[in-house]
Subunit: 366 residues, 2 copies
Amino acid sequence: MATNTKSPVVDIHTHVYPPSYISLLKSRSEIPYVRSFPPSPSLRLVILPAEDTESTSRGRPVGAEYYDISKKIEFMDTHSIDISVISLANPWLDWVPSSEAAQAAQSINDEVNTECGKYPGRLFAFATLPLSGGKEVIVKEIQRLKSLKYIRGVILGTTGLGKGLDDPELLPIFEALQENKLPIFLHPHYGLPGSVWGERANDYGHVLPLALGFPLETTIAVTRMILAGVFEKVTELEMILAHSGGTLPFLAGRIESCIEHDAHLKAEGKLGKERKTVWDVLKKNIYLDAVIYSEVGLKAAIQASGQYRVMFGTDHPFFPPLEGEGQKWASVETNYVAIKAALGGGSEEEKGALGRNAVRVLNLEV
Amino acid sequence: MATNTKSPVVDIHTHVYPPSYISLLKSRSEIPYVRSFPPSPSLRLVILPAEDTESTSRGRPVGAEYYDISKKIEFMDTHSIDISVISLANPWLDWVPSSEAAQAAQSINDEVNTECGKYPGRLFAFATLPLSGGKEVIVKEIQRLKSLKYIRGVILGTTGLGKGLDDPELLPIFEALQENKLPIFLHPHYGLPGSVWGERANDYGHVLPLALGFPLETTIAVTRMILAGVFEKVTELEMILAHSGGTLPFLAGRIESCIEHDAHLKAEGKLGKERKTVWDVLKKNIYLDAVIYSEVGLKAAIQASGQYRVMFGTDHPFFPPLEGEGQKWASVETNYVAIKAALGGGSEEEKGALGRNAVRVLNLEV
């Protein structure tokens, strides 16, 4: 059903490295770090262990699109994006010494909020938590976020306090996020142990850790949360999963079958009627971005979680233009095309996925 | 389009432990092994490291359905399955000493072939390769399989000769399979390193390694084959992927995007027009079973690979009846329901997925 109502396009998966974060990374010599490799004067960003090698493909060039917010606006204008909900890119502040965590998170979140204010109505943000600072510091920062006008949630990796997201020590943090109505944007960084890629992994560039390690990490993290009963304890917790949930939509049926058939869970009395199934969680607590690069994957995401729970994203500034491309990035167009194919060009459902769902879920002022 | 033509139901994912294999496992004290744990006289099968613990859920009970072929026929009759293509269950002969590999494979394959002959027209089989015996032994067994009336392919794990399926040393073996028109049924066993499941993994029984480890292992293995160019070198190689491809259908778009954007692959000249994309391989070399336990996953599998490339399976004797179930197993019914929902009850497409595709692809006499 097509209408002519103006409907915004909102990008919920788009990263920034504010200047203060780039400074932090420049001061480091281990991953994550930013440096030049003489004789070239260009800065390169190295964030994954697999990238930290002598090969020519070490890391990626750090251009202005990484830290200059005006470049984000240019990118948005080129791709007809009305609003971006920006987030610090991985690995966030996971590596910051405990004593510096509170200050680092405050200055990053303040800076990101200030940058949003430079383009009122165009930018909102997910904040970053001072994970290494301990529970009290983290909860305090969550409460402080209320004072930041453009913050609409938090971005979170999969390590939590060091033991993963099924760690019961995280429950007060999840409760604070629930209470403050701040959804978690769950994003991968650590991938899988390098041994799974085999001896020839370097021949394949970064494909295996990026294409498989990232989504599988997300899937494992959220499945562990489900098995730990997090969504039965913090019932209104909202999670937006990067990359359309890793592969949760595809594997939800298998996970459910394995749960229902598990002798240990049965013996422990964990299979009662009060159990929230994976499908329950997908339709009640979980939202999915639409960064999956195919109609096949996107349709599964929509069917698993519901058409009102899927939201457009770009992963900018990653997946930059291919050689010979015009101004528009293939990575962005692929996701636009998938949404149109899955939901129908001009339909209300398409408008939902392109922006209205994000406006509603993240309470964006348009 | 419904017709009244008689159309068989074929189960292509159904395992056996022939008596000689049970004997081999009984002689062992490390996984994989079969033994009783006094005071109970019942035999238990332990095949995964995570199962090898003192807990009450150690392994699984080995009933007659594991080794008595008449129980397979009973199961088939109960679930309206006309034909089963049986395969030795994991971990096959991966662990057999090199000098014993040839003999072990021969006797297992002969025994399985003989069992098929006891129920003519009801049973066919995937053979097991003597992987630890070295290339010549393996190729010799592949050539010998022609003499076994009911063999229609081989089941294969993800380790190959010890370095994974992207090992160039495997090419002569893939070529021998291609030449003898024997498809590979690719099946997981090793999962992922235990560290990814976290400290609380034991609280979740076997769910994480079975629900996520297995399909992710399959996905990684076949993606490594694609990146190594196996399907450009052995162009007619046919692979049937267990569990609907692990998660290859869902992630194919992301894998393609990561390949196209990879600086190393570009520098190496690997992104030329002659490259077979993941989608090309999915529609030319790959078939998928329908063991995915949801309409969401099955639709993605069908859309990725094509409706004529998806084939019903049960994973019998695993996922046994739940308490309170009747004679029919929930795990089987879930996959029947998914096929009906995805393709339409009574449609030609449903008949294809239920059996006709398998009859065509595996050249079964009905």
